[in-house]
């Protein structure tokens, strides 16, 4: 080998140098490792002076390879690759050894740490000499964007992009956009009416020339890669012609079939078989629910068709498919609510006056089933006392360990609404009050002053089994008041369960469809939890809102806007670099066995019938290397992770063992250091 390798060992202040003897390692590498032309240590390699050191050596010493032993490559690989590129060296001819995260920070003994650092540098030096020059390819970015989910996150993202002049396809599963926010009454802590602030944005979406709103639709198939996705969208049959319908609502009025609305009204109210979820729905076009529709059941009725003034009803309508090309995708698919029936001791579904938080939202809403009156399940009786139970399904290792983030504030909002609308006494049974955003703590104080009672303790049980005076006919909340150190039985008329936010039931399937990962719980995983919160590991796919984890409306809106900003950046730049770390097949070596064909989840490998060999579409290849490992003929090579490179790294890592056990040593000379 005739490569000239430069080895640079970073002190990282005292982070590395405090444990690893960097001078000794630098000297050792320079004297013992084959191919090393320059070996230096420096206080901060990532500083501009550190980078210049590398650049100067490349220019003056004619280095052909660079090894930087410093922090994790996840932190500074780009920095050092750039430094190499600045000096005219292909950036892929640089390799990092993580002697901070994997050595100085985790090894206690200085001498042992120094030895481990040497082994890692030997591995890197060995490997880097087999590196090949790679060039990222440039592909154009399609300016269209797909936004999945029409809740407030998706609405915000769509409007940001559309206002900036870029076309957006907004896909929503339900007949109307609006998401959970449309179901709410007030929003904390300002008590703005949710509909008053949401519906103008919804109409903006509906009317925006740059937004193609696809309601009652779902993504069927996704293929392609960053900048160039092809998406097939299934538009479910609405049985109403969107072109002809004026949204007058006569069909809804005339429909004779009334069913319980489990979705928008959370089972508290009714809708017709032809319906729109709520009066301000966008688009304002009703859909027919074929499960309950009398015509679909019996073949008779057609009241809607008879009365429709524009002949928009079409019972023959079929699901249709739309194929679109987009450059980027924003997933804002929201959350599901924890099923409160899962906790039987809280009595939901068994005790009539135990409500979920969403049911109570609908009850408080002036356009909801009780027209905003807070009443018991009988629909008339106003409660004299209400208990709000926090953390139902959250912060509980039996269900979900995480905090649902919004329930403390919602319960304060509920408390306020009860106090405002009724004379009832309110008890809030909490584990911890979490009011840590702008204006939240002040709202908590306000409720303390308004007379809401706070009981610190996790509720054991809600029961109607009375045994003390004053308990008859009431729901008894059994709770340990941990501040007073006593067991309490609080008799109330109404109980509200603050249900946990959970990932969508189909989040994992959706994740697979778009090629992004989910956390253990099922929340979409961001590229970096702090520094890259809306991007994902798959380029061109962004996430926003509660699909990424529980969060309140301001945070959701911020993420929607952030995701849109990231997409705008991609579109404005116009092209995107595709990592050259991909697999390729050497045709002459391929036997056409097709083992690799089924291994690729990205469908990057196709079989060329005419040549009887397999072929990898490098634009689709994500570089995992599974096919490389599987090819029995070793006809597939994985750029930057070739067998030879990895073998060389193993040999280097084990340099000290190899020299001791008689195995064929890599080119490492163990001669004594001359004085």
């Amino acid at each position: 080998m005739t490569e000239k390798v430069g080895v640079y060992i970073c002190h990282c202040g005292s982070n590395i140098a405090g444990v690893v003897d960097v001078e000794e390692v630098a000297k050792w590498a320079g004297e013992n490792l084959e191919g090393v032309a320059v070996s230096r240590e420096y206080k901060f390699m990532c500083s501009s002076l550190g980078q210049e050191l590398i650049e100067d050596d490349i220019k003056n010493e004619g280095l052909t390879r660079v090894v930087v032993a410093a922090c994790s490559p996840h932190l500074h690989e780009r920095t050092f690759r750039r430094a190499c590129a600045n000096a005219g060296l292909n950036p892929y001819l640089c390799h990092m050894a993580s002697i901070r995260e994997q050595v100085s920070w985790v090894v206690e003994d200085n001498e042992v740490a120094t030895e481990k650092a040497k082994a890692m540098i030997a591995g890197a030096v060995n490997r880097v000499q087999l590196h090949e020059e790679l060039e990222p390819s440039l592909v154009p970015v399609n300016p269209n964007t797909l936004v999945v989910g029409g809740g407030i996150a998706g609405i915000q993202a769509s409007l940001e992009l559309a206002d900036a002049g870029y076309p957006v396809y907004l896909v929503e599963r339900e007949p109307s956009i609006g998401g959970h926010m449309a179901q709410f009454d007030k929003t904390f802590p300002t008590l703005d009416c949710a509909a008053c602030i949401l519906t103008p944005k919804m109409s903006d979406v509906g009317a925006h020339p740059n937004i193609n709103l696809l309601s009652y639709s779902e993504v069927e198939e996704v293929s392609g890669y960053v900048g160039n996705f092809s998406v097939r969208i299934k538009k479910k049959a609405k049985y109403v012609d969107e072109e002809l319908c004026t949204g007058c609502g006569i069909c809804i009025e005339k429909c004779p079939k009334k069913v319980i609305d489990d979705v928008f009204e959370a089972g508290m109210g009714y809708r017709k078989s032809i319906y729109r979820p709520f009066p301000q729905a966008v688009p304002n076009i009703p859909v027919i629910d074929t499960v309950s529709c009398t015509y679909f059941e019996t073949g008779k009725c057609k009241a809607c068709e008879i009365f429709c003034p524009t002949e928009a009803i079409d019972f023959e309508q079929q699901d249709s498919y739309l194929d679109i090309d987009v450059g980027n995708i924003i997933l804002a698919t929201g959350y599901d609510l924890f099923d409160c029936k899962t906790i039987p001791q809280y009595g939901y579904g068994r005790l009539a006056n135990v409500f979920t938080s969403l049911e109570f939202e609908r009850m408080c809403n002036a356009s909801g089933p009780t027209e905003g009156k807070i009443v018991l399940r009988d629909g008339v009786t106003e409660p004299e006392s209400v208990a709000i139970i926090h953390c139902v399904g959250s912060r509980d290792e039996n269900y979900n360990r995480y905090c649902s983030a919004i329930c403390c504030m919602s319960s304060l909002k509920f408390g306020h609404l009860v106090v405002e609308k009724t004379d009832a006494e309110v008890f809030s049974c909490y584990i911890d009050m979490r009011t840590n955003q702008k204006g939240y703590e002040e709202f908590y104080e306000r409720l303390l002053e308004e007379g809401m009672n706070f009981v610190r303790g996790k509720v054991a049980e809600v029961t109607d089994a009375f045994r003390l005076p004053g308990e008859e006919g009431k729901l008894i909340v059994q709770v340990e008041d941990t501040l007073l150190g006593i067991q309490r039985r609080i008799p109330v008329d109404m109980v509200i369960l603050m249900a946990a936010l959970e990932p969508r039931a189909d989040a994992r399937e959706v994740g697979l469809q778009f090629g992004i990962a989910c956390s253990m719980e099922g929340w979409f995983t961001e590229r970096h939890p702090k520094l890259d919160p809306v991007a994902t590991m798959t380029d061109g796919i962004f996430i926003a809102g509660a699909a990424q984890g529980p969060k309140d409306i301001p945070a959701v809106v911020a993420q929607g806007a952030a995701a849109a900003a990231r997409v705008q950046g991609m579109i404005t730049k116009g092209t995107v670099e595709i990592e050259p770390v991909v697999a390729t097949i050497t045709e002459e070596m391929c036997s056409g066995c097709r083992i690799c064909n089924t291994l690729c989840p990205f469908n990057a490998i196709e079989y060329l019938e005419d040549k009887e060999v397999s072929y990898i579409n490098t634009a689709l290849c994500k570089g995992c290397g599974t096919c490389v490992a599987a090819c029995p003929a070793q006809a597939i090579s994985g750029a930057h992770y070739s067998n030879e490179q990895i073998f060389a790294e193993i040999e280097g890592l084990l340099y000290d063992v190899i020299s001791g056990n008689g195995a064929k040593a890599p080119q490492v000379e163990q001669e004594p250091v001359p004085a």
Binding site: S98, T598, P601, C624, T626, I650, L654, N661
Partner: protein, 165 residues
């Protein structure tokens, strides 16, 4: 002084997305673990060719760890399942070669599991230390017998290696 303790050398293949980040996290959180493991970054646990493991053992490693994302959390959707399949096959072959079970280990570690990865490493180092040095013949390329034995094994288990459509 007591006899010098045997310090095994273990090579670990860590996937770029979960396990290598777990190692990063263990570092950032200053979780101390035994220094006997030397790590190699691969893009996915699915990249780990069984020959990598054999090569490491042949060159003098006393054990090999393969670490990847948890099932269902693979950055490449499902390639860790392929690593899993390959691993059981590999174990089968290694058993035939007389290798103790504990010398190879497949470990799932998410990017958040720095502690778990460190614990797994400690556990494995202890196990391999208890087993003692592997002392495999060092020189593969000059010992055609061993290579031939591995090839024969692959042939014998060709059926198990087939990937269902």
């Amino acid at each position: 002084m007591a006899e010098e303790r045997f310090e095994p050398k273990i090579v670990a293949f860590l996937c770029n997305w979960c396990s290598y980040r777990a190692a990063d996290l263990a570092g950032t959180a200053r979780i101390k673990y035994q220094p006997n493991v030397r790590m190699i970054r691969v893009m996915c646990s699915g990249r780990v060719d069984p020959t990598f493991v054999l090569k490491a053992l042949a060159l003098g490693a006393d054990g090999v760890m393969i670490a990847g994302c948890h099932p269902g959390e693979c950055h490449y959707l499902e390639q860790n399942y392929k690593a899993m399949r390959r691993f059981s096959m590999l174990k089968h072959s290694l058993r035939a070669l007389g290798l103790e079970e504990d010398r190879v280990r497949l470990q799932w570690a998410s990017a958040a599991e720095g502690v778990q990865l460190a614990e797994a490493i400690n556990e494995m180092v202890d196990q391999v230390r208890a087993l003692g040095p592997l002392n495999w013949p060092g020189n593969w390329s000059e010992d055609g017998e061993v290579e031939a034995a591995i090839e024969r094994l692959a042939e014998e288990h060709a059926e198990a290696m087939e990937v269902p459509a």
